[in-house]
Symmetry: C2
Subunit: 446 residues, 2 copies
């Protein structure tokens, strides 16, 4: 009798919250006081190698417990799965999770339940990459196009992208990959920084951080806008005067506006030559973004961090709503769905500039952009990954930024693993930090 | 010193599940084995009248606990609110709930978190109507247009409907309301039935139930389709031959298809003169529905039960994706958001035919259609509310169907209150039914 294969023996979840609201880090027009948080999941197996799969949903505080409950609701689908089989074909688990008809009712494929699926699926990819001893970007870039296509659920997108077209894009995308890999390893992938531009920062801090960004080699920075037009005019003027005309200045309204207001406000800031306006209105508004884009050109329109799934991305592309598509590693259904979104962007010729920041989003999403460069888009022109210098110290393999570029990760996995001492300290409400916090002890939420 | 005003003193939640999957009631092409469930909330106050506000999210089994956790996450926003103030202006609480920036991150305005907001808001309307001793439809129909407009959050919809246009629609809508009220009280509001058409029923049961529906006075029935074309052809033929040419036959694919498949399949059933094709594809696919509608006319396109919020409904109307708009009382953010959706439908001249069934959805949504008739659309022509004869016995004031019409409810409130003994028996997993159930005791999910 052959020994039974290694299986998943535990799906452990953690409610981890960082008290970021106390410094106004991450403040914007819609999110004045975020406490960056992670609904965190660890897949443990009985394999001899001892590897674990780590994944998470990023949230901004309250409700992180709801997100943990949603991951818990997926546990029965994962427990007992043979590890090798699951890692050889994460798409099979993905289809089982989005196909659970009772859980599907809670979306479908959107919001809390869908993000929970993304956390679990990303944990599987982390485990799969660790088990083959490669960073995820490399696992993906080395994979056969046929296998990558089989990882994708084409339901509801075949009117824009068929499996055959995807295969063709991936086959053509591989040409010249070896040369690009050398360049990636040498130079990294371009980044831009949002660290200077939070709405809660005063002009002095903005000036200092914007100058620092240029000195650090960034060729694009981003400013939060949308709370007060007069303030925005002043802050854009300050930022533009600090960085000069050669650095791209993106602005980000975090969904603050209706369509007409977005057009008016963006035009009022046009003098400062904004490169893109990000999230001008609701992420659900495909037609609204198309109207805004038509009106504010040549300012580009960017969105995606809150776009719920591939179906809405498909329409944003079909309707011509976007100049820049911003994937997020932890909002949609994980790597599998992001593969579909990257392919849709490639089909429509729209550059992908990922959203990152928060907790660990930089760590995750760099892998997807590097795959995109090596095996699909074939270029980094007009492509940048967002970078924010928060909370990286909590990860075992944090991102490394060098001269305005993300350095290609070398550690096996998806760079998702948080330090055990950080998990212990920031678990809410029982971890060391929160247990000692007077506000938490008074019974207030984080 | 004046006595302090009555306040909300408890927000109690219940995970209630009914074992409907065991009879294949409610089976369709996407949902083969639903266990109709309610994430149920009761607002208790210290007012002398003893009234409670009841509300719920309808789910189909697994994940009902996640939905309960989401309602729990809203508790701090509601506890301690002055009851009179809250009931005088539910819109104020609605804006606070959708405006909680940390919780908003989990949507925004979609999925688990948004449905939880809907449950709480609907409970407030139930309480408000009980306190004034009127059924909700009457409270709404009697309300001043200015007050109704103030109940609506126009964010993200002003490009399609302004507050001024809404006010104008409501003012015009009132004309002739007294006469319509008499007609409503005498005749009720037209219904159609889905009870015959579940996918899990064999042809004999379909024949028997379809004949019964016609005998009961229904002029429209609905069949589930989308699993197997040959079966669908046979079932449509059976149904059409039973009901004859004078009864409308709607078909419902429950999101089963991609765009091209939806067109092909619907055309293949056109011989049986289907009145509408419902949910032909993903509820997120505004452009897909528009393409399907253009291709399958004169068969009408209907959707809405899974449409996440007013922003997607706005676009479905803007893009010409719909002939029939199907509101659901418990998927969006409660009565306040449904007022916005009814007004959008009125603005675009699209008839509203609500989704109902499940647990208590008939009880709730009848109030919204009756308001629509009395104070907005002014007609019941081409308008029907779905009716399914499941689980009504668990409600204190169940719907009353007479000659194919919903009778106008007379009991104060939103008809949302479940019998205490039903709550006790079907609370999962500790209630009497589940505790005695061998499957549950083996540790399996519902």
């Amino acid at each position: 009798m052959s020994p039974s294969p290694a299986r998943v023996i535990a799906v452990d979840t953690y409610d981890i919250r960082f008290p970021t609201s106390r410094q106004l880090d991450g403040s914007d027009a819609m999110n004045p006081d975020p406490d960056y948080s992670a609904a965190y999941v660890v897949l443990r197996t009985d394999a001899a190698d001892g590897h674990e799969g780590h994944g998470f949903t990023f949230t901004i505080g309250r409700g992180n417990d709801v997100q943990v409950a949603a991951i818990d609701a997926l546990r029965d689908h994962v427990l007992g799965r043979p590890v090798q089989e699951m890692c050889d074909d994460p798409g099979s688990l993905f289809r089982d999770l989005i196909g659970d008809s009772q859980l599907r009712w809670l979306g479908p494929e959107k919001g809390v339940m869908h993000m929970a699926i993304g956390a679990v699926i990303n944990a599987v990819w982390d485990l799969a990459a660790k088990r083959v001893g490669r960073p995820l970007w490399q696992l993906l870039a080395d994979a056969e196009p046929e296998w990558l296509v089989a990882q994708i659920d084409f339901r509801y997108i075949t009117d824009a992208l068929t499996p055959e077209e995807a295969l063709d894009l991936l086959r053509r995308g591989r040409e010249g990959a070896a040369e690009r890999r050398s360049r990636l390893l040498e130079r990294g992938y371009p980044a831009y920084t949002t660290s200077a531009g939070w709405l809660g920062y005063d002009d002095d801090k903005l000036t200092r951080l914007a100058a620092q960004a240029v000195a650090d080699g960034f060729t694009q920075i981003k400013l939060k806008v949308g709370a007060d037009l007069e303030d925005d005019v002043r802050r854009c003027r300050v930022a533009r005067s600090v960085v000069g005309p050669g650095v791209r200045l993106a602005i980000d309204a975090n969904q603050r506006w209706d369509v007409a207001e977005a057009i008016r406000w963006t035009k009022a800031l046009a003098d400062f030559d904004p490169y893109w306006i990000e999230e001008p209105t609701s992420p659900d508004d495909v037609l609204g973004h198309a109207a805004i884009r038509a009106a504010v050109a040549p300012v580009k329109v960017a969105t995606g961090e809150h776009v719920q799934n591939r179906i809405v991305f498909k329409q944003l592309l079909q309707a011509g709503s976007l100049d820049i598509l911003q994937i997020d590693a932890a909002r949609v259904g994980g790597v599998n769905e992001n593969l579909a979104i990257l392919l849709l962007a490639a089909k429509f010729g729209v550059p992908v500039c990922p959203h990152a920041g928060g907790v660990g989003l930089c760590e995750l999403v760099q892998h997807l952009s590097m795959f995109d460069y090596l095996a699909l888009s074939g270029t980094t022109e007009d492509r940048v990954i967002e970078y924010v210098d928060h909370l990286h110290e909590h990860f075992l393999a944090p991102v490394v930024i060098r001269d305005g570029h993300y350095t290609a990760p070398t550690a096996p996995g998806f760079s998702a693993t948080m330090r055990p001492e950080s998990i212990a300290r920031f678990t809410f409400p029982g971890g060391g930090f929160w247990a000692a916090d007077p506000e938490t002890r008074k019974g207030k939420a984080a």
